[in-house]
Symmetry: C2
């Protein structure tokens, strides 16, 4: 069977509001530094009103990964829920401008398109407060069986377990993908998110997910251990491949018969770590869907991640295809 | 009389949509490179749909100047018309977050908040297509006499002559300022804009404006000459002070008894020239409202302009007060 798409991404469709912040602001508001926290419309507005001037751009974890894949030259599709409002049209434009297939029905009324306050600390760490807005309306019916069946890999973010109905959509997509002989992939998203859904994520890792993305904290949280060697051994028995990101140190790729450590790229101008994990996944999946060896997949992941952290925002500022050709 | 505000700015309140573009796109659509062109909603949407992924941030020429003044530590106010929609709330938040007094009544219905497609060429030149939206509803009644009377300088953009009713607001503000013994200031905005309103702008320069801002092209257009020396002599007889920006070469400050050339700051990382003129005006007015000598005013203008062109967007990325202390 031919693949119409290399990767289909499913996630919370979000517009980011990027704001520089001092760490005091986070501690004063009891927001854990480096985390993603869910907030309601009121809290989001309250925090926003206290924060400085911002820039707005499209975000959403899986959407960032799909944008990265498009920039690398992969054929990609995306499923996520926006409202037909000004921010929704920003999201829609940016996805479409990259040649990404995006046909999820838009909400015409109800709550607004989701927004995320991305607060960037002086050391480039980002802390996020997300108001899910229209994302709560992503349903099973939004999963187009034809699109899932025609994508070599269906990639989903752990954050999808936050809106009430999206996990049904997630499960439907996973079943459709496997029934069509395709691969499934999950990003654990955030250690707090893993904490919220540990039992379910563990079940997914053990039985349903072929390619798992996690950072060290998330993996430790998943396997309820402080010993990374133990966590790596556990995931090795569960998933076909696990790609574990380790910040500036790079990544570790785990398969049934290999554990490969790959150094990160050195960068001199760290600005904003938003999107590092998302773009790592983009680079890795770009290589993986072309059947490149795992070390090369990991190196492409590291390289894509190293670009996105040199500027504000979670999507590449350059043509990643060219960037890869020059820098890999 | 004490000043509540150092500077009041009046202008078109706009959210910028910043997009990298190849020059071919501009020529294919017959858009003059480096210009500001007015477009309707339909044309704006058509161009946007053909352009790549963007970032959104607050703009508007006079608003950028006022934002720069706030960042420099001046006490400032702003008058401009937005709609109470998502983009309007972005503009409102960013202005308020800088401590700028902004109380213009918002439109609750009708056309959306103005937006400007800012297309940035590979050499950092910016070309703008503006849909004026709610700006057409700025009226005389929006000019608060108390605010004008309590501002040492009322600064207005030439672009205000584009929306139908705003010039009445402009004239009202000018009269109120002079009646209160205050100074008036005008930026000529854009050579095409000067072309549209040459006769009226000439009358303003001759009789109404104390402090004039222009680049060389705009000044030549105003005085209908290709000889800059001639244009400088003309403006010297009309305005108390004229500040003429000359791109990378810096600026020339013209008063009744002086013509001062001031070199620009050398920068190594030119990214986007959007806001250069606006931030020059901010720096100059910051010095002028503190009665600093004209050379220092020009140097502060050059410095503020040199910061804004090292990154995308028309507002400073750093605290300009600190930046000034370190770099002037």
């Amino acid at each position: 069977m031919t693949n119409k798409f290399d990767v289909l991404g499913i996630g919370n469709a979000i517009v980011d509001i990027l704001i520089n912040v001092e760490d005091d602001f986070l501690s004063d508001h009891e927001i854990p530094r480096g985390s993603m926290q869910l907030v309601d419309d009121e809290t989001s507005s309250m925090l926003y009103s206290k924060l400085g001037a911002a820039i707005e751009c499209s975000g959403g974890s899986a959407a960032n990964t799909i944008a990265g894949l498009a920039s690398l030259g992969s054929n990609v599709a995306y499923i996520g829920k926006i409202k037909d409002d000004q921010m929704g049209r920003v999201f829609d434009h940016d996805i479409n401008s990259l040649g990404i297939s995006f046909n999820t029905e838009k909400d015409m009324s109800g709550v607004p398109t989701a927004r995320c306050l991305v607060m960037v600390s002086p050391d480039a760490e980002r802390t996020m407060c997300t108001y899910l807005g229209a994302c709560v309306n992503l349903m099973e019916k939004d999963i187009d069986p034809e699109v899932v069946a025609s994508a070599a890999i269906t990639y989903m973010e752990g954050y999808l377990w936050d809106p009430e109905h999206a996990k049904a959509a997630f499960r439907k997509a996973m079943t459709l993908a496997h029934n069509a002989g395709r691969k499934t992939s999950l990003s654990l998203s955030d250690s707090f998110c893993v904490g919220r859904y540990k039992k379910e994520f563990l079940h997914l890792a053990e039985h349903e997910i072929d390619i798992l993305f996690a950072n060290e904290e998330e993996l430790l949280m998943l396997y309820d251990t402080r010993d990374i060697t133990e966590a790596v051994k556990a995931v090795q028995q569960h998933c076909e491949v696990a790609a574990i990101t380790r910040g500036a140190k790079g990544c570790t790729i785990v398969s049934a018969d290999e554990i490969i450590d790959i150094n990160g790229y050195h960068i001199s101008n760290l600005v904003d770590t938003t999107g590092a994990g998302d773009l790592f996944a983009a680079g890795f999946l770009h290589g993986y869907s072309q059947s490149l060896d795992l070390r090369t997949c990991g190196r492409i992941g590291n390289l894509a991640a190293s670009e996105v952290i040199t500027h504000m925002g979670a999507r590449p500022d350059v043509d990643l295809k060219q960037y890869l050709a020059t820098n890999l």
